[in-house]
């Protein structure tokens, strides 16, 4: 019969070894010696206690931990934390640009066909944009950093990829978005659209 494995020695010390394997130890001097040494070391190790601090130590430790916890931010119940938002920001940016690019596609198609863009939703449901956007302030001037994120996200996320991760866009929502774009935003949209078309054709 083979000697006990490391795992079996541990089981033997914990009195969890199969009796047939335990019987081997009785007949094998080598395994018996190893098992005895292991048990002895286990006994000695277990006998070493942590020095008991003074009774006041626990009150002091509790107070110390309480003060430290009081200074810590409260646990978040929502399940969302900043690391998650870090992922969401580029994802939402990409979604926004994809919406914009698709909007541009629809817009150009309707213009090319000689039709005015059709509003599919009632006036009150139209998304609002800030007044400076409506007056033609360039997005680059106002939010250059955000715009950089949007454009860089758009350069790496295609429509199929966006659709695959659940970024579905309703035509009405697209019309909503396009309707309130400023001239500068439309120019930028056109540029994005061209680069997207160029990338698709490659």
């Amino acid at each position: 019969m083979t000697h006990l494995s490391e795992s079996e020695f541990v089981d033997l010390a914990g009195e969890a070894l199969d009796p047939r394997r335990a019987a081997h130890v009785e007949a094998c001097a080598s395994c018996r010696e190893q098992a005895d040494a292991l048990r002895a070391m286990l006994r000695e190790t277990a006998s070493v206690a942590v020095p008991e601090p003074s009774p006041l130590f626990w009150d002091h430790l509790s107070a110390r931990v309480r003060d430290a916890v009081a200074a810590a931010p409260a646990p978040d119940r929502s399940g969302w934390s900043w690391p998650h938002l870090g992922i969401l920001i580029p994802m939402s940016a990409a979604a926004a640009v994809v919406v914009a690019v698709i909007s541009g596609t629809l817009l150009l198609r309707t213009v090319r066909n000689g039709q005015a863009p059709v509003m599919l939703v009632p006036e009150h449901a139209v998304a609002t944009a800030s007044s400076d956007q409506k007056t033609g302030a360039t997005p680059d001037a106002d939010n250059a950093e955000v715009w950089d994120v949007l454009t860089s996200a758009a350069s790496t996320v295609g429509f199929d990829e966006a659709h695959a991760v659940g970024m579905h866009v309703h035509p009405a929502a697209i019309d909503d978005a396009v309707r309130d774009l400023s001239a500068a935003e439309l120019t930028e949209l056109g540029r994005l659209l061209q680069s997207e078309l160029k990338r698709s054709s490659n």
Binding site: E6, S7, V10, A37, W58, A68, V69
Partner: protein
């Protein structure tokens, strides 16, 4: 250590809610609902075990206190991650082991066995039950065992501490350390063998020089 206590707060709309001997899960819920005092009870309930775990790793009271505080702060900040599949105690052990392993990776433990005041304290306790000489030898040997444990490789040390001193089953240790049960048993086997070798080194056996 307080393990039982009536826990009360004023709920909405102004009713006083009292829970006698709340479970850990109830205290966690209270804490997540914004009642920070509930966490104080959890600290009182678990601080001894967490401190002992940390002490086993670093071997001195000062570092063990620092680490205990760190464990509870991390637990508090990450309380929403506690899902209740394991006991809160096991969850705290998991945090504690990570905190301790990180600490010992960056700082060599300085066991209190070298602290004469603490050794004297051990001797006083032991001397009440046995002769003074035997108590001194026993205390000295205990310090050597602690020092030898502190020299074990990190996973062997964690396994030995959790198995021998906290009596966790191999499966729970495997979960905490992210290992297989087989790896835990192998680490435990090697930890005991290495401990024996370390204690046989010259100067480690108090009887060897006599």
């Amino acid at each position: 250590m307080l393990t039982t206590r009536a826990w009360s707060w004023t709920g909405e709309p102004g009713y006083k809610v009292t829970v006698t001997n709340p479970t850990d899960a109830e205290l966690v819920e209270s804490c997540l609902a914004g009642r920070r005092e509930a966490f104080d009870l959890l600290v009182e309930r678990h601080q001894r075990h967490v401190y002992q775990l940390c002490y086993r790793f670093v071997g001195n009271r000062e570092d063990a206190s620092d680490l205990t505080q760190d464990v509870f702060i991390r637990a508090y900040r990450g309380l929403r991650k506690f899902r209740g599949q394991a006991s809160l105690g096991t969850w705290l052990y998991r945090i504690g082991v990570n905190v301790c392993l990180n600490r010992v990776a960056t700082k060599t433990p300085r066991p209190d066995a070298l602290d004469p005041l603490l050794a004297a304290s051990d001797e006083r306790i032991a001397a009440t039950e046995e002769g003074a000489d035997a108590a001194v030898l026993r205390s000295e040997r205990a310090g050597q065992v602690r020092a030898a444990i502190a020299r074990l490789p990190r996973k062997q040390r964690a396994t030995l501490i959790l198995r021998v001193y906290h009596e966790l089953p191999h499966e729970a240790i495997a979960g905490i350390l992210g290992s297989s049960v087989g790896a835990v048993k192998a680490n435990f086997f090697h930890a005991l063998n290495n401990l024996k070798k370390l204690l046989q080194e010259p100067g480690m056996d108090p009887g060897a020089d006599q």
